[in-house]
Amino acid sequence: MNMMNRTSDLAAGENATAYARRQKIYPKLAHGTFRRIKWAVMAVTLGIYYVLPWLRWDRGPNLPDQAFLLDFANQRLFFGPIEIWAQELYYITGILILSALGLFLVTAVAGRMWCGYACPQTVWTDLMIVVERFWQGDRNARLRLDYGPWTFEKIWKKTGTHITWLLIAVATGGAFVFYFRDAPTLAHELVNGDAPMVAYAFLGIFTGTTYLLGGIAREQVCIYMCPWPRIQSAMYDVDSLLISYRDYRGEPRGPHKKGQSWEGRGDCIDCTACVAVCPMGIDIRDGSQMECIQCALCIDACDEIMQRVGRPQGLIAYDTFRNLDAPVHEARVPVRWFRPRTLLYTALILIVGGVMLTAWMNRAVLEVNVLHDRNPVFVQLSDGSLRNGYTVKILNKQHAARSFRIAISGLEGAGMTIVGMSGPEPTIDVVTDDLRALKVLVTVSAAKRGTLAGQATPFRFAVIDARDGSVIYHDATFRGPGDE
């Protein structure tokens, strides 16, 4: 029975219907450059995921000291020195836009790099396969085990595999909830059974999904659940570097005996090593396929074979459609890096990144907002003076209580009162990390009405830090009836 080729399997199936049994895939361990890169990526990404919530960052008293924390209760996102407030969610939007553009750019340049190397589904599946290999051996041993009878050996090997998978799954779900609450505290609570219900729920969900998607479903997720494979073909073009079988070099394929001439035949010896390592269970020699996650393991597998039979490597390699279809193929493909598509994505990334950086640099620890009252926009008082109402909001993002005074600049003869406060320039205390909204009334006396510039007179509110005297100005307008 040919386990490697779903195509021939289906054709052989007597009762092929609209629904078929899943073809289980037994990926063989590959050796080579790309496998080494993937090990490294796996170590780094999983390392970050599991370790990040445990890193500390001293922010001073009354603040979480977790380096990365999504603090829902206080609507803050802490990331090292960076702190994002709920009303600054546009930074997150910006990061998402950058990520999307980055994905577009990478796909345009080199296909599904994300899928093949960094996607959590790929990384965890890879990890689960490591576990499987540890307990049950590599491809052939696993095949034998699965098709053999249920023996004691089979039972403990399978049990060991599933227990290890579940342990990894629990660790994954555990790590997830630590991102949302102080990790050491929560770990303690989780063990003692007094963590919040939602923590247990998410731990359960992530345990279940990790086990199910990474351990059991694997490539089925990529093929049937993930939308990206269907979108990607719009993202790359004839100049994108995709993992390709160079059929101009490989065909006609066929077995090759040592010492035989290579004249008149291709380099592919039809050993199916490339198929055996493929975690998606496809044959890359059939051409570019939706299922291919571009993990490059088939490159490693084939390069090893080519070395053994003494042919140049790169029968399967990153190559472009343009080169594959060319009448003359060069060993070294001159890749057209600069194309409208890549330039556009790069430009967009630079623009969005620049905008975000500028916004971040100008981010103040004090925010002042002024809202002019509508209905009425101005009021005439009984002594003929004019008054405008404003709501002044002071947002103190510093981790210390601060005091301010509010003053008016650029409006001759204007008086100011703050509802609920006495005196012309009272001290306004704003506690740590808080917003204070004040109702401010600005009055221009009847005698000074003549100095107003018609219906709208611009002036500025000055919010003065009582301690260091630093001032933030905010533009405002004083409205009146205009010429009388």
């Binding site: 054709a11 092929a16 009425p376 109402g389 109702k439």
Partner: protein, 290 residues
């Protein structure tokens, strides 16, 4: 359907369907677990119907489900919880004299938010969303008050209303000097000119001079000798530049001729005491309060 057909290029079986004479679709089956997931969702949906309220029934009700779950009850619980969370504020408002609420910086934001919401609902239709008023509806942002602008006076006005039919309503209306034949046409004009001159808006000094006597005889009783008004009676101050029914000569003439007397509903008994207090404090904070 004929027998199975294998596509010669791919070696894959076709579905047997033919389009455009020669187009055939390859049979690329979905995994069976996918089908089972579909079945599972159907089973889940049926379970859902049984467990939760789902189906309307003929006699105008619906199946109640076995868990006795009701979204309405859930919302009710949430509202109760929210009310409970606010209870401490309500208690504090009830205990604080209205004049002191503005000074309580902890309470003020809650009172402002609560007051603004009720104001928009109950008062906004006449006074405008921000209390800006309109002809016949006082502007609550200025410092001119017919019945007093202290927090206490405002609260009382809100409670009993004006010419509202409430037992203690603020009552008193401007007489209909013209319609009831108390003043003649030219006397009305003279009086109006005099009234306008009180705030420096008169145009005809001769008429105003004649009007002074008419004012003393007919208007001073309520508006005072100097026209400064009387908040006991709700009589407007005529010396400021603020006019409820317009400050043009024709407006003032019409006021004298036909009298005035707007109506404001009373809210005691319709809003609870704490809400009334929040509302009064909010109106006072609009700026004109004394």
């Amino acid at each position: 359907m004929t027998g199975k057909e294998i596509d010669s290029v791919t070696g894959v079986e076709t579905t047997g369907h033919v389009w455009d004479g020669d187009l055939k679709e390859l049979n690329k089956p979905l995994p069976r677990w996918w089908l089972y997931v579909l079945y599972a969702t159907i089973v889940w949906a049926i379970g859902y119907w049984i467990v939760y309220p789902a189906w309307p029934t003929l006699n105008d009700t619906y199946t109640k489900g076995v868990f006795d779950y009701s979204q309405r009850a859930e919302v009710g619980k949430e509202i109760a919880a929210a009310k409970e969370a606010q209870a401490k504020y309500f208690a504090e408002i009830a205990a604080t004299p209205i004049g002191d609420i503005e000074k309580n910086q902890e309470l003020l934001p809650f009172v402002m938010a609560g007051g603004a919401a009720v104001f928009g609902d109950k008062c906004g239709p006449c006074h405008g969303k921000g209390g800006g008023g309109a002809v016949g509806y006082p502007n609550l942002n200025d410092d001119d008050w017919l019945w007093g602008g202290t927090p206490e006076a405002i609260q009382h006005t809100i409670e009993v209303g004006i010419r509202s039919g409430h037992g203690e309503a603020r009552d008193m209306a401007m007489p209909r000097f013209g319609l009831d034949g108390m003043l003649k046409r030219d006397e009305i004009t003279d009086a109006a000119q005099f009234v306008l001159s009180l705030s420096g808006h008169g145009t005809d000094t001769a008429a105003a001079g004649r009007g002074a006597k008419i004012f003393t005889d007919n208007c001073a009783a309520c508006h005072g000798d100097a026209g400064k008004g009387n908040q006991e009676l709700g009589a407007p101050n005529l010396t400021d530049g603020i006019w409820l029914y317009g400050g043009k000569l024709a407006d003032v003439e019409k006021t004298i001729e036909t009298g005035r007397g707007g109506v404001m509903p009373y809210w005691s008994g319709r809003l609870d005491p704490v809400t009334l207090k929040m509302l009064a404090a909010y109106v006072h904070s609009l700026g004109g309060g004394k």
